[in-house]
């Protein structure tokens, strides 16, 4: 037995084989989807390297403040969901619901922030057909936001289940899977913020 010498405080029930299978499936999905986003980032890189100026001379650079606040929101949301998972694993069932609800709320704030960002830039005249610069901006952020939207449905399901107190040390597979997905979506955003907005 691998856990024989470990402290009893760090003891976790052994994962059921079914849970490990599901987690492997999620990892493969995220690996596959990483290739999709990697290809999109590579496309952005090629277009940027080939352009005479980035942003082009007649277009304003993208704002940093609002998407920066959004970055904080989605990172905080990931952290909240992780703490919900931790609570479920360690048997503190009461702690799952508030943390999961906070994750959902922060995710919704992120999406609202994105909507504000798009409307602001659209009003300022940035349209998808204005060359590669707005193409990259709208293409990558909107495609990412669709993944956030899917994640919000997942988090909604997690919150509904947490309200019925159905997550515990031995039963938190759904929470764990959505946690993995949500971290992935958050990590892609951080990368997106750093490369598309800051760089």
């Amino acid at each position: 037995m691998s856990g024989a010498g470990a402290s009893i405080l760090r003891y976790r029930p052994r994962r059921s084989p079914g849970d490990s299978t599901a987690w492997l499936g999620m990892l493969l999905f995220l690996g596959s989807w990483s290739m999709l986003f990697a290809a999109l980032f590579a496309a952005y890189g090629v277009l940027r390297l080939r352009s005479p100026g980035w942003p082009p001379a007649d277009q304003a650079p993208l704002p940093l403040l609002l998407p920066g606040a959004n970055t904080l929101a989605i990172v905080a949301s990931s952290a909240a969901l992780q703490s919900a998972l931790r609570s479920a694993r360690e048997g503190r069932t009461a702690g799952v619901l508030p943390a999961a609800a906070a994750a959902l709320a922060l995710g919704a704030i992120f999406l609202a922030g994105q909507a504000a960002l798009w409307t602001g830039l659209w009003r300022a005249g940035l349209r998808p057909d204005g060359g590669p610069f707005p193409s990259v901006f709208y293409g990558l952020t909107v495609f990412h936001a669709l993944h956030v939207l899917v994640g919000l449905f997942g988090l909604g399901w997690v919150v509904a289940r947490a309200a019925k107190a159905s997550f515990g040390p031995a039963r938190h597979l759904g929470l764990r899977l959505w946690c993995g997905y949500w971290h992935f979506v958050g990590a892609v955003w951080v990368l997106l913020y750093l490369t598309v907005f800051v760089l």
Partner: protein, 596 residues
Amino acid sequence: MHTTEQEDLQPIHPEPEGFWPKYVFSRDHKVIAKQFLWAGLIFLFVGGTLAMMIRWQWAFPGKPVPVIGPLFLSDQGGAIGPATYMTVFTMHGLIMIFFAITPILIGAFGNYCIPLMIGARDMAFPTLNMLSFWTFVVSLVLVICSFFGQLGAAGAGWTTYPPLSTNIGTPGSGQTFMVAAIFVTGVSTIMGGINYVTTVIRHRAPGMTYMRMPLTVWGLWLTAVLNVLFVPVLGSAALLLFLDRVFGTQFFIAGAAAVRGGGDPILFQHLFWIFGHPEVYILILPAWGIVSDILSFFSRKPANWYRGSVYAMCTVTVLSAVVYGHHMFMTGMNPLLGQGFMILTLIISVPAELLFLNWLRTLWQGSIRTNPPMLFALGMVFVFGMGGLTGLYLGATATDIYLHDTMFVVGHFHLTMAAASFMGSLAAIYYWFPKMFGRRMSERLGKVHFWWSAVFITLVFTGQLISGYAGQNRRLYNPYEYSFLKHLLPLNRWTSYSAFILMAGQLVFVWNFIHSLVAGARAEMNPWQVGTLEWTIASPPPHHNYDVIPTVLRGPHEFADPLVKAKLGRDWIGQAEPLLQELPGSSTPAAAAGRA
């Protein structure tokens, strides 16, 4: 994992009741496999019909097409107009690759063989498996929509290169539908790929080590790995092209305004071929695996150097990811980079050759049985050999510059991707038909079908190689407009006749398939007398496959073992069949099958 652990992981679920959950929205991998098989065969027929239209155009340019013309081309006087011709070869390529070969080899036989051959009760994620098929159906609907799209179906070639595939080159909804269909079918493929990879890693029966898996499973598994890794890259290309077409973004449209720069059409080619080269191995690896097994089974000999074949397939899988640039030698690529891609490409022929030699040495001194699966496997070895050899000329930059974009390329990739995959698929269909449907196909018609197909498929694609070597460019509407190609009309006409005869010969298969389905002789448990796990259960297998998950004791090709011959009186032994203990009468199913 121990037996009890696998039993816990895969409990027996009751068979669903009622028509819809049993036959339509089924979660059973065997039913889903048959759904993919039917969808694939129907679209194989559609794609084949489109191919006949192309061949008609090259044999009798601008003349009214018999049968198809009056039905579908009445507005053009029954002939194929230039714009329609573009859509015909585009849809032929896309349908054959994504909606015929992929569902048959990967969707049908991936689903059918993986769980049965590794001793599992079902896929790891049965619901995801069902969703994968129905997502595929959505993409089929998009393909059909494309045919009825305004300004006709997609017409930018199967490679869908911009700027031809943007709104400037192919306006109209047909192309947009097809780009969406590629994305959706990609999602379906990824769902399937995740399922296959997970199932092989997690659901192998106790004792089924990686080095005891049938080579079929190896081929399908490596295919699934490539699918999971590289189909998303195609997804990104399709997504960006879709955005360009529908939302007016400029990822691939080279802009006129110097100050803003522009999109990059070559970028699409990179994304496409990063996927596209692994894709050709995605289409051939399952056939390699299936053929490797069948050659051993019907030579009644262990597969020569099993591990070597496994290593060769793994090496090809890895190398397939780093050679895509050989599709783009002519795009203004730095010659040094081109040389790098050339060397990597030519290195692939080493593991491929190893696999090929293993096939030949498996046959050497075997006691060969010439049943239809074996004939088709041998046919695959032959056409793949021709395809592989002609590939060398295209992998080397010096010769590729001359042969680029000619019919030689078309002949080459049809020999590998079309003829070899076609032969591999048919070997698989003839081989697993008794297990899938519980009935035997006619051996005699199967042999007629083989010789008919083998002769004419070789003639068709050899004709293409020759016309390409003579300089005929691919995709020309009327090659004989060019005076230097005028003399190729008789050659092309003979190639077309071969193609028509090839198509007509498939009627033998259609009749054999349908007739055997309803009136074929009942198949026993193990008609081919082989040892892999799927032949130890009833034909067709019960809903949960294995009453007791078997414990595997040996590899898949245990033939001609003197000890087995002495003890059991036959030349094969089941993978899960004990030998060195008292034989428990008729209680081992494999032993029972041996006597039957």
